[in-house]
């Protein structure tokens, strides 16, 4: 089991960042998420918005792992529950994979809130617990997933900073960058 956490600051007010966060999928900067659906959504008695979403993701596991899993089925589904509290100015988001669970679990929690001293800055804290079942592959895979989480977190920051507030050229560049990666 690997626990991983990080913190980021965005130079935008909370509302702006949260709008971006709600819309971050689909997103060419995070190619691992290929689809997103809302399963359920509603306000609670405190006026907070709850959303349950189903994300279809490609984890991009290395081919050796695919061979061991005996499947090309690297499309994995992730369920996400987010709560947006417009009064407290807090967005909390938890997600976990619901397929390949016999093999790996990735539980992630993100919280967006305004910087206590500067309302024009938003703080994101992100933590993840990664558990790989099975012995030999475990530490290798856990490290790999943790690295991916780091990379995705950096993308998240870019996402809110640039993608949603975006320019077409920015997007174009990102896609081209992806082409190089692929």
């Amino acid at each position: 089991m690997k626990i991983w956490s990080t913190e980021h600051q965005f130079s935008y007010p909370w509302e702006t960042v949260v709008k971006a966060a709600m819309r971050k999928y689909p997103n060419p900067m995070n190619p691992s998420v290929i689809g997103v659906d809302v399963l359920d959504r509603g306000l609670d008695s405190r006026g907070r918005l709850h959303s349950h979403r189903l994300l279809s993701t490609e984890w991009g596991l290395p081919s050796i792992v695919r061979a061991i899993l005996g499947t090309n089925h690297t499309q994995t589904y992730v369920k996400e529950h987010s709560v947006v509290d417009p009064e407290e100015k807090k967005m909390e988001l938890c997600s976990t994979n619901i397929t390949l669970t016999n093999f790996i679990s990735v539980d992630e929690r993100l919280v967006y809130h305004p910087h206590p001293e500067n309302p024009d800055v938003t703080v994101l804290t992100q933590e993840a617990i990664i558990t790989v079942k099975g012995v030999s592959l475990s530490s290798y895979l856990e490290s790999m997933m943790a690295r991916r989480m780091s990379a995705n977190a950096r993308k998240d920051k870019n996402t809110a900073d640039k993608w949603h507030l975006s320019r077409f050229l920015q997007r174009k560049k990102t896609i081209l960058e992806q082409l190089n990666v692929l």
């Binding site: 509302e15 949260v18 709008k19 709600m22 819309r23 999928y25 689909p26 997103n27 060419p28 190619p31 998420v33 290929i34 689809g35 997103v36 659906d37 809302v38 399963l39 359920d40 959504r41 509603g42 306000l43 609670d44 008695s45 405190r46 006026g47 907070r48 918005l49 709850h50 189903l54 279809s56 589904y77 369920k79 529950h81 709560v83 947006v84 417009p86 009064e87 909390e92 988001l93 938890c94 997600s95 976990t96 619901i98 397929t99 539980d107 929690r109 617990i129 896609i175 081209l176 992806q178 082409l179 692929l182």
Partner: protein
């Protein structure tokens, strides 16, 4: 490469993607212009949501995606009142 951009917008049910886009558009507008600004009137997208939901839930069933009974480590225990 470039095709990714088109693929990214899809729903889990290929047939639901247009319904999803219509709903997303409605929701995003309400979220930005009403909800975040403290307007407590309910969201106006329930009709497009219902149509989209019927499609998605059918797709989930057809694909046998196990969406029920997932325990999260997070957030608050309160259930939405919908």
């Amino acid at each position: 490469g470039i095709y990714l951009y088109g693929v990214l917008k899809r729903s889990v049910g290929e047939a639901c993607t247009d319904l999803k886009r219509e709903y997303d558009q409605c929701f995003n507008r309400w979220f930005a212009e009403k909800f975040l600004k403290g307007d407590r009137s309910g969201d106006p997208c329930s009709e497009s949501f219902r149509t989209y939901q019927r499609c998605v839930h059918k797709a989930i069933k057809d694909k046998d995606i196990p969406i029920d009974g997932v325990e999260f480590m997070g957030p608050s225990k309160d259930k939405p009142e919908t």
